[in-house]
Structure formats: structure tokens, C-alpha cells
Amino acid sequence: MTRDITFSRGDFFASIFSRARCVVLIALAVMIVVDSLAALAAPVTKASRLFYVGMAILLASLFAVQSASAQLIIDVTTSAGRQIPVAIVPFANEATAPQNITPIIGNNLARTGLFSLVTQTGISRLPSEPSEINFADWSTRATEALVIGGIYPSADGRFDIRFRLFDVAKKNQLASFSYNVTASQIRATAHKISDEIYEKLIGERGVFSTKIAYVLKRGPRFELQVADADGFNPQAVLSSLEPIRSPKWSPDGTKLAYVSFESRKSTVIVQDLATGQRKTVSNFKGDNYAPNWAPDGSKLVVALSKDSVSQIYIISANGGDARRVTESNSIDTNATFTPDGKDIIFVSDRSGGPQLYRVPVAGGAVQRLTFEGNYNVNPRLSADGKLIAFVNRDGSKLRIATLELASSQVSILTDGPLDDSPSFSPNGRTILYESKAGGRGVLGSISVDGRVKSKLSSQSGDVREPAWGGYGSAGVVR
């Protein structure tokens, strides 16, 4: 059974227009739900009907409570397989807290496509403490997991946030945490709680606390922005009238390497996100571009044209001399290290069109990796090194594809027509990429199995070249 759910949440109070748009989207979602219910009348169970209704109600509540600080709009499309039904009960005192928590958690979980959110209408008393739980309320709603909690102001102006996760069938507690935080840390705490729930229910680490970086082009101005993984809470860490390109997170999540054109040519700069300190690490004659970090963070691989057309070089992350890795008469560019740091995957047009190749850092035989199509570029490796995400061009369509190294299996994940710059989530489940919608640059995300898609678009300007930070990026930039 395939269902398409489209929802959006955003800067709800910012304008009547966006409110009207949300209403339209809700109507659209309800129409799709009704439509799919009609079309699939036979297999629809009471529980899934309740799910749809619940989803619509929950979405409506999401719109109503979202604060005006949000700057990205998210649309999710799911062709879901099995989803875990989770009930996230609004936390005690949440309505009077400076920042809501449960809508953020609900959105995080729903966006993975791995969870469905269970309706709570008709339950006489919503629990916030274990003693208040009536498990029958939830088992009749086919709920598998239940989240309860509260937010309590403490005397020093801080907040105590408590949450508990229950297995409804077994009636036992799976996790419980309490956090003492400032008002500005409530959103980050919501991400932390999402991570705990995800890890307990899915069995792998969540990525909700990590950060993303991307370039936002607003009129003539380029901004390098860092935001929460859900696209909210964006902050500009650099602004320039000259292009900014290719932001890449250091493995420890404390720095960004990127290409700047502020000296009217490309140079590679490393910027410390905590101090704001910037250092030009590659400024050789010609082009200095396509930086990527070595797994240990001590080196960068770059493409330089100082000796000929673009070749691959390795430089220290502090700058200095460049050691040449590739020796060809062709364009060699867009290199990325394998997770063990021993090999480099790169793009070369030595066979005509650009294709992906692999070469040992220490030097050695070059191995061609892609053979389908005549334009395969922008490789990025998953953290486990098993999967390469890249950009495939078919005719004029740019699409996100993956190559499984063990089987040489290529999968085309998106339809294009202008999808570019893929970046893996730290757990390797999701690929964030640059896309176009309505003539503007937006961020798309797709699960590596192609089932779950979402779009994040800024209300002003073109969003491009996303880079998903590693687990270490969680603590950087509040």
C-alpha cells in the first residue's frame, strides 16, 4: 500500500499568505487521504483510518504552535512500508513554555518515514506521569510506543524537561531522561529527545541533533548558513557578494572548509565555527576548489590547476604545500576520501565524459567505478564506506544516484531535473541534496532506499550545496 502524505510547516504567523497556503496544504492532504481511502477501500483498517485523521489533526496543531523563528518550509512525501505507530503526548506545561517541544519531536520522527503519529482525541486525560497512563487507551489505537513528559520552570530561570518512552504492548518503560536547560536550549533538547526515541525504537543512532550547512543566495548576496538538521534555526556564518561554494564539515564538526571567490578567484578557506576565525589554506595560482576533509581532519583533498588543468592534491588543513595525487592530462576533480583514509574517489574526464574513479592516496593504479551514462560526478561516501552518492546526468536531467561498491549496483533515486550536491546523513540513512522547485533552489532529502522524500525551502532566496555535519556538529553554533 502506497500513501502520499504532503505536509508543510513553517513561519505560520509571519503572514496571512503563508497561513492561507498552509490551509490549502491541509485541505490537499485531507483530499489525498480521502482519495486514497476511497481507492483502497478494501484493505483500509480502522487503525489506519484513525492514523490519517490523527495525522491531519496533528498537522493542524503543528501549524498552530510553530513559532515565527522558522525560516524553512518542509514538505514530506512518503511511500512508506512499515511504520511504527508512536503517540507523542503534549508535555505538561508545554503551552506556557517559551518553545514547544512535542511538535518538533513529532516532525522529526515523521520526516524519517519510519514512524506514524497516533491520534489522541477521545482520551479523557492525557498522561504526563507514568501513574496517569491507561495502556488500554493506547493499545486500542494500535499504538506501539508512547512518549510522555513535561517542562517545569525552575527558580533560576532554567527549565527541567522530563520525558519517558513506553512500550505499550509490554507496558514497560524503554527510556527516561531529564534535562536542566536554558530557554534557548529547549529546541536542542527536543532534538536530543528525538534521538533517544529513535535509537530505542530503531536500534541505531539518530541524527536530529546534528547540523547542516548550505549556501543561501539572496539577490546578489551569498550566505553560508548553518541550521539544525530539520532546517530550522538557521544562522549565517559568512556573507559575501562574491560566490561561496562547496561547504564541507570537518570530521569533528567544529569547522567548515569552503571555496571563496572574495579575491576574484577561487581559494579554499577553513573557518572555525566557535571562534569565527578564518584561514586561507589553499591559494595557489589558478583554481583552488572542491575541498574535502581527510577522516582524521588533519588534511584536505583539493582540486588545483596550478600545474595544468585540475588535478587532485592533498594539503594540510592548516595550509602549506600541496602534494599531487593524480597525474593525468585530463580534468581530475571532486575528490573525496574513503572512511579508512587510504583511497580517494574522484571525477575524471580521461575517458571522455566525467566518470567516477578510485585511486590509493599513496599512489597506484586508478580504477574506474562508473560505466553507465556519460556524466557521473560529485561523489560522496556514506560513513561506512559502502555506498557512494553521486550525480548522474541523463540527457539534460541531473539526478541523484547511488553506487553500492560491493555489488557495483547503481540506483537512480530522484527524477531531477536539477538535483545536485548529495550529502549523507551521519547514520547513512538519508541523502540531503540541492534541488529546484518553482525556479528556486531548495534542499531535498531522500532515504537511501528511495522511499521517503522531503523538501526544505527557504522563504527567501536559493538554497544550494547542502552538507550534513557528522555527530560532532551537534554542539556547534547554538
Binding site: 560566490p243 561554494r245 562547496s246 571567490f261 576574484r264 578567484k265 577561487s266 595560482k285 589558478g286 583554481d287 576548489y289 572542491a290 582540486a303 590547476s305 588543468v309 585540475s310 580534468i331 576533480t333 571532486n334 571525477v347 574526464d349 566525467p354 556524466y375 560526478v377 560529485n378 550525480v391 546526468r393 539534460s396 541531473l398 545536485d420 550536491s421 540541492e434 525556479g439 544550494r464 550545496e465
Partner: protein, 178 residues
């Protein structure tokens, strides 16, 4: 008597020569006797010409009637070969560089928005490099030319159709100091 005549003749000849060509016929230079007691002071100070620099009033690089003011070479989609129609333009710039040994150029390569953003850097670079090679074979040494690429990030035309893309697939010749 004869000797005196010859001597006088020589003296007259020498004197005549002296008035015409003082360098070839130095006369016995008697110290000039001042005609008056007024001492002459120079009316002008020695010329200080260290801070004067002239600029040609008609810079051929800026003169719209001069081919040297044409700086843009356009390319076909996905191509980096320099079309024959630009041979004269490149030739004139090579000639100018040969005649002005202190000048340098930057060749700035660009791509249209189609294609991957990262790989378009390489395409812009290929185009700049093609113009460099074409200029180099005309005798301009490579250390006077720097090739740089902007990829697709500095479009000349902002549209999303072939008319705009054709404007954006280009190499611009930029002289030092411009």
C-alpha cells in the same frame, strides 16, 4: 710669407668650421670674461621628473573601435573548443601582449547553469585553458597568463533559456589592474 698665409688660411678655415660644428672642431676656449658685474642666478630649479607619468589618451584596450576592447569568447554547450570566429580577437591580444611585455592577463572561464555545480568549475577551467593555449601558441608565455574558473556562479545573463545560457558559456580576458 708662404708659411704665414697657410697658417692664416688654416686659422680662418678652422674658425669657420668652429662656428658650424663646435664638437668636431674644438677651439681654444678662452675663459669668457664677464661683461658686467651682475651675477646671473638661474631662473628655474632643476626639473623634478620623478613623479610624472603619462597615460596614453586613447587606451587601445578600452577603445570601442579597437578589437582589443572585445574581451569575451563564447562557447557551445558542453564544449571547450575555441571557435574560428575568435581567431582574430585572440591574435590581436597576443600581439598586444608581445608589444607590451609588462602586461599580464587573467582568463576567466564560465559555464551555464546546466550541469553539476561542482563539475561546472572544471568546464569553466577547460574553456579558460583552451584560450590560454590558443594565446600561448602565438608566443605569449604562460607565466603572463592565469586561468581561473567561476563555474556557473557568475552568469552574465540571468535567464533560464538558451539565449541566456549562450551568454554565460564564456571566457573573459581581463588585463592586470582592471
Amino acid at each position: 710669407m708662404k708659411k704665414i698665409f697657410i697658417g692664416l688660411s688654416l686659422a680662418i678655415l678652422l674658425a669657420a668650421c668652429a662656428s658650424k660644428d663646435p664638437i668636431k672642431a674644438p677651439v681654444d676656449s678662452a675663459t669668457p670674461t664677464p661683461t658686467s658685474t651682475v651675477t646671473q642666478t638661474p631662473t628655474t630649479k632643476p626639473t623634478d621628473n620623478t613623479n610624472i607619468s603619462g597615460k596614453p589618451m586613447d587606451d587601445p584596450l578600452k577603445d570601442p573601435n579597437n578589437i582589443l576592447s572585445k574581451r569575451v569568447i563564447y562557447f557551445e554547450y558542453d564544449q571547450d573548443s575555441v571557435k574560428a570566429e575568435y581567431a582574430a580577437l585572440i591574435q590581436e591580444h597576443a600581439k598586444f601582449l608581445s608589444n607590451n611585455r609588462n602586461r599580464k592577463i587573467r582568463l576567466e572561464g564560465h559555464a551555464d547553469e546546466r550541469g553539476s555545480r561542482e563539475y561546472n568549475m572544471a568546464l569553466g577551467q577547460r574553456r579558460a585553458d583552451a584560450v590560454r593555449k590558443a594565446t600561448s601558441v602565438l608566443g605569449v608565455s604562460n607565466d603572463r597568463m592565469e586561468t581561473v574558473s567561476f563555474g556557473e556562479d557568475k552568469p552574465k545573463a540571468t535567464g533560464h533559456d538558451e539565449a541566456a545560457w549562450a551568454q554565460n558559456r564564456r571566457v573573459e580576458i581581463v588585463y592586470d589592474g582592471e
